[in-house]
């Protein structure tokens, strides 16, 4: 879905979100409360600059609007693959963004992630995956790599991977697989406003994704193994 259409569906025509190149930001009103919106569009690659732009908005919200909820609108192809960004410490900039979002949560801001188009790898770890909870639209795509690329890297036949992915969500892209593994809390299917309303009200503030992954049958071991460590 185009971000403009998404913004209109969620917040009406005068939503208050603007795009500066691939960076989205704004303050919106939702059912009587102000929300900070931070996001990316056009499958933006996340480099040092984009990570810092997002972090700046999080820090401004923390400083100027204590307690205000933050909505992360996610559409990224992953981290920017440039030598200059590596030289300048792209991992440090992304960790900084993650630490800013994490501090917002600790200070009582609700932080909701929404994958409205595409979420990949590094671009996702320091956005939706470090929010209180991450949601997705049904047509969104979430992945580390597609099956053909995974077949090349792992040297396992594409047909075999496709077959295994029918029953094991760790092997293939897809929103439903991420729901099953607990990485995505829920899919917003029809009424987007209802989705956001319930997310702001019900999103867990502690990390319960491994438990969800177990109860939903998508990640059988993550929770159990951590429990074993606690009991060892």
């Amino acid at each position: 879905m185009q971000w403009t259409l998404l913004a209109e569906k969620l917040f009406g025509l005068d939503h208050g979100i603007s795009a500066q190149d691939d960076f989205l930001s704004g303050t919106v009103q939702f059912e009587g409360a102000a929300l900070t919106v931070i996001g990316t569009t056009n499958h933006a690659p996340i480099g040092v600059e984009m990570a810092l732009k997002q972090a700046r908005r999080v820090l401004d919200t923390l400083a100027q609007h204590p307690g205000r909820a933050i909505l992360l609108l996610i559409d990224t192809q992953g981290q920017l693959l440039r030598r200059r960004d590596e030289l300048l410490g792209i991992n440090r900039a992304m960790a900084h963004l993650g630490c800013c979002i994490d501090l917002a949560r600790r200070r009582g801001h609700r932080v909701i992630g929404l994958v409205y188009d595409q979420a990949l790898s590094g671009g996702f770890i320091t956005s939706g995956l470090i929010a209180d909870a991450c949601y997705a639209l049904p047509e969104a795509e979430i992945r580390v790599m597609r099956i053909p690329a995974m077949a090349r890297v792992t040297k396992i036949a594409e047909e075999r991977l496709a077959e295994l992915s029918q029953t094991n969500p760790v092997f293939a892209p897809g929103v439903q697989n991420y729901v099953a593994m607990g990485g995505v809390q829920a899919v917003w299917k029809h009424d987007l406003q209802a989705g956001l309303r319930s997310a702001l009200r019900d999103a867990p503030t502690t990390d319960r994704r491994s438990r969800d992954g177990q109860s939903r049958g998508g990640r059988a071991l993550a929770y159990a193994v951590a429990q074993q460590v606690l009991a060892a």
Binding site: E49, L103, S121, I130, N177, V229
Partner: protein, 296 residues
Amino acid sequence: MSTSFAECSARQRVGLMLDAGSFQEWLPPSARVMSPHLAQLGVPSAFDDGVVIGQGLLQGQRVFMAAQEGEFMGGGVGEVHGAKLVGLLQRALRDQPAAVLLLAESGGVRLHEANAGLIAVSEVMRALLDVRHAGIPVIVLIGGANGCFGGMGIVARCADHIVMSDAARLAMSGPEVIEASSGVEEFDARDRALVWRTTGGKHRYLTGDCDVLVDDDVQAFRAAAIDALAQSRAITLDSLEREHRLLARRFHEAPEGADAAALWSQLGVVDALQVPDLDAPAIRGLRGALAASLAN
């Protein structure tokens, strides 16, 4: 006689870093807590899924420790591997050791179980930040041949302290990935000198991306870990504002292009072209003069 950290296995590193005989492993290989996904793919599994976790003494103080085994799937994080790290961090929150030491050696998410690995890395990140916010220092030590990349490169930068050897690398995407995606003129992955100038321990130390630079010697890593004990660094709005200023200034003021020596010169290194030839003590000597430009 020094022992190369890079040449040791993860389990050897743990044994040599801690007070002799003090390490107690949790979920050891005999417990055979293994990846079900690798088995499904017919790929050889490891009895510890490539990570050693447990507790021991560091100069008499109880610490928790994890060590990733780079020889197994490049230290890649899968479901079980990640869950062992998360469990260790959750247990640290409960049991309050003096510190958590993470001997990171990883290519990031294990691609054979990529979706689970990606979520696992983010769970490690959140659990690590819980420990850090509780005032228990998390010390990341990087000295393996595989470096610390991908999601683990982000996790490392969430810790209180990073110790690296000059043989180590810390970054996001590996040079091969960048070359494959953007061409050899963007990043020649076979140019080892270029790779180390861009991601190696000396570079990370001169820019302040790591806190301590040591020789490739297990005892030097141990000494650096002891020094970092009891030095928790709180994450506050102020500390994040300082970090932001530093990173923004670095980004806006960095010389054009992607040349490490130009960046070192700008930081105040007088003879930047000499840096690759200097040993760790000489590099440590340089950083004192750079303190002003690294202050955040």
